[in-house]
Symmetry: D3
Subunit: 238 residues, 6 copies
């Protein structure tokens, strides 16, 4: 587990479980954070939801004297990461968006699953992506490349601030994923964002029902005072 | 409904229902139109077929004083579009190919479905793409981005000529989509293209059967006089 | 069938059937070949495995006087290729990565299937990709484009060395595909790579079982002497 | 001249003449505008400074029936633009960043120069760029392409909001160019930005002199109270 | 010298010397050739004009067993090309647009200059581009990369049809370069294009003088009957 | 000065002053290092030569709560870098190749010049690039962007391994620049590479003279035993 982590209260986790990544980005945008969605990644397990804390791993370009050698589990930052992640950690890999080789394969993912990891996110490629579709560990990838990571990447360090898919990720940030992708919530605002997102989600569910019943968007989306009063009344009855 | 629209006769619509987007591009190419397929888009509903008339919506880059404000359904070109489309309209969005934020979300799509829209096409991203897979409105997107449109886009105007995925789209053009993508047919040639495409489709079905039965392509694809005669004879018997 | 081909012994083919494309790239990397995986391609038939010999087809940019004419099966290199491939040939197309038009369509693919071809690989687009999902011929494509190939491509020649998806492909090279993509094995090393890949695959299966049973990667992946001894012992018992 | 234009007072123009495009972007950033610099353009006349008002011209993709015809000066939006620009107008062309053909050539530029235009900006290509280096009309281009515009572009309309090089340009916006590029100032803030930028420029000139004389940046850049007092004192003496 | 070459009559060469590459593309466009300009290349010698016949050299991706070896002048297609080009040959290299290593360096260029070559064109990178600025051999490059060609490229063959910068180049095609870039003229139309381009050039020179003297473009560009008559009259007097 | 630095002996520095960046990449390639040239950068001072030791600065994507604030010289890694570089340091910035804002401006460059820095290298953009052309500090940039760095970048840390323009740069690596670009020499091989590159440079100068005098490349480039003997004899006489 990353020493950077400050766990969220269970109620906030529960709120995040009811909010889509879309809704979370809206709450972040309201608070001035415009760039929080990791664009261009695909979920290997769109049926699973991911919530955890960022454990970062940074790759730099490979160099032949460092990387065309046998992998040593005691010195490779990649391998140290795999044997360091703990429950609720999401391994987030900065691969510079380079998809010319893999960043990880399914064996290491299976190990992280057994260590309790909550997921994997990379802006590079994965190896054996088809195998990842069978592993109960939500993983988000930009591409598949079957060549092992050392052909392009040198693992440099752990738990430093990184960029992943164009977004700043700090160790300990809250990372949420669903079928549509991954959003990173700065830890300092994660709690308030969680509750606000859940509230918005419920409101939008109400709006959606009205639209499905034939309402125009006028006065409904965004909701005016009357619609909000109706929503509050309904909520009271539930 | 767009005032630009000149509806096709029902027989032409019926013909288009039997022609693949591939076949339609071939008939357009024969008439000198080389660039009619909207490349790089994915169908959210590959099981559905889309036929309609282009209702265009043009986005330009956002600017903070215009777009970091509450959305007003009476002034936003996006919202006016949603409440203007009518039966058989296909909303075609020029998002400059920018996938750094969404161009629309599922609530607005649900509203357009209820207004009778035939589909949505964007060369930008959609929000909640996984939700679109559950909506009976064929939608074609370049990517998924969960951040709302105002973070990147300002809706500028409606029903002007636009570029979408590199293709000119005029309001009222005939827009056809299938599992493989979207083709735009200039209105002036849409009727003749519809019938010619259906004819080609039937001929290619005949060719395909011969190939499956073991024929070489020589004399068959493209068909020579003998094959054509055989086809005509067969057609007579059907 | 390509005159370049030197068939592999059946035992090597059988070994390749048990090795993933990931494992094959690792064996090639061990022999100094860093760039053997064709990145960015999608399998139309992820449920099928492809093993064959490269039959290459090279496209150059179209020119109006050459390509806006009726296709002649006796002079078009594309059509000659289709009627030349034989059992176990994989047609590999160098389309310069240009996905602005198709490189082939489903009718030609059906013909190649009947001629015994083992698969198709292109770094360009395919037409009617959805139809390819129904054909029992593993096909790997970069994109879908419905416009016919002559709008962008002129087929230049057959069975010359080409680049495909950034990788050198020599006529007669061994081409292997699975759900995760395509690897090209230089013919001169194909036999030893086949056996070495199969051996590695079995060893990694053993490692994966240990990881799934709760082992750390330390001493196991990569395996140390003890783990290897355990593996050899197990193998003996099988 | 564009009817959209509200001229700046001469003092504001004079202030802009003393401010670099870098300084102007900083003043815009202070006011919340993050995206005002037109990235990726090259000045044909880095020795000239451009200040004027945006006169916008919007291109969409060409279509054969519209554009492979003789150019008509009375209907082509491009030609109407050329004969409409007046003193202090900067023609800003939205070419969708497509550099596959020119957007304008030197003959039209010579005509605009004689009509008093202040400059040309395009996010597409120019023809005869080497000739532009001899014309006293500051022009900013993304690339050179010698093929005439109609091979890729259809001129759609004039003086609508456009995107150019990723930035929103409204007709009448203030456009400033120097050797390093082009910045677009929303008209509503142009006057205050002009004066603030000139002030910042003078302050930075003072800072630069101190740095050149051996100062550390500490306390100097950004300037602390003491440095600011020194600057104010110096200014009093000038 | 390439066996493909059919020299142009001296009068056509002379005509080409008076036509810009822009004008030549226009004459090609009039004849239906839309794609003849090699986009994205930079002239190392913008002060020189290049006219010659295409001598093509095709590169494919490198492979370690072929290219990480000593270069052999008797087997390397690159070296054979250098010692084969003759007077008026333009070496045109298809480097797949890959600028990750050089395609040639200055020593080979000096040798080609002494053999009488008319120029070099590559859609890859050059090594020592600054040295090329001192060599009297017009060279057109996409980028500079100092690493030698064998790190990315394997020279495959000579005088086959190639794509270069997206344009089809046949051995023997007429290649013309000026400060703004390179145009390839299919040999079959080169003679008529040469004369037509020279004529257009003279006419546009006349138009430009009128524009510079204050004419509107109306009736002048494109010229109407009156302007053409004036031009013909003037020409008679020259 | 970086604590990582192990200075080269003066004779090695002198040798590097006589070797082009092209020649240095060749010596690195001979030692197995394929990826050492920083592609895509432009020299602001092509008339100057740069030799120094890498002092690395790493940027990650900006976040509003960290970067839309006043810059503090005591906490900003960028500013600490500027006031930390010493004689012979080359500031190498990892900007993730993002050119959407500047990475540094001319005032900070002037300060580094006065601290004795040997140069600046960035794979992002510079501000006021035209001003850099007047500063006696060799600077290598990918682009110009006038918007200040905080609009896109957050300076994260100093003197960690980074990727710059796709190449691994370790703090203390030897960085050499000339008019054609920048090469990074791993410190462990820098000394031997320096001498080997100088030797190769002299040999190639001799080869070039022979080529200019009319020699074929056969036996000369690469030189055979006879040519080498001639070179050795000549060297003895110098």
């Amino acid at each position: 587990m990353s020493g950077h982590r400050q766990p969220l209260p269970p109620a906030a986790i529960e709120a995040l479980q009811q909010a889509s990544t879309a809704t979370i980005t809206t709450q972040l945008l309201k608070r001035g954070f415009r760039n929080t969605f990791l664009a261009g990644l695909t979920a290997t397990r769109p049926d699973m939801r991911m919530i955890g804390y960022a454990f970062t791993l940074r790759y730099v370009p490979m160099r032949e004297d460092l990387d065309l050698v046998d992998i040593d589990n005691t010195t490779s930052a990649q391998r140290i990461a795999v044997e360091s992640v703990g429950p609720d950690d999401v391994l987030v890999i900065d691969a510079r968006g380079d998809v010319g080789a893999a960043t990880l394969g399914n064996i290491l993912a299976e190990r992280m699953l057994r260590r309790g990891a909550a997921g994997i996110v990379t802006d590079g490629a994965m190896r054996d992506t088809s195998a990842f579709r069978e592993i109960d560990l939500p993983t988000y990838v930009r591409a598949t490349h079957q060549t092992q990571s050392t052909a392009r990447h040198h693992p440099a360090d752990l738990n430093v601030p990184i960029g992943c898919a164009g977004v700043l990720v700090m160790p300990g940030d809250v990372v949420v994923g669903d079928a549509d992708g991954v959003v990173v919530i700065p830890r300092a605002v994660a709690e308030e964002v969680a509750f606000a997102a859940r509230d918005q989600e419920l409101k939008e569910q109400f709006v959606l029902e009205k639209i499905r019943a034939g309402s125009s968007i006028i006065g409904v989306y965004p909701p005016d005072a009357e619609t909000l009063a109706e929503y509050e009344g309904r909520k009271g009855r539930d």
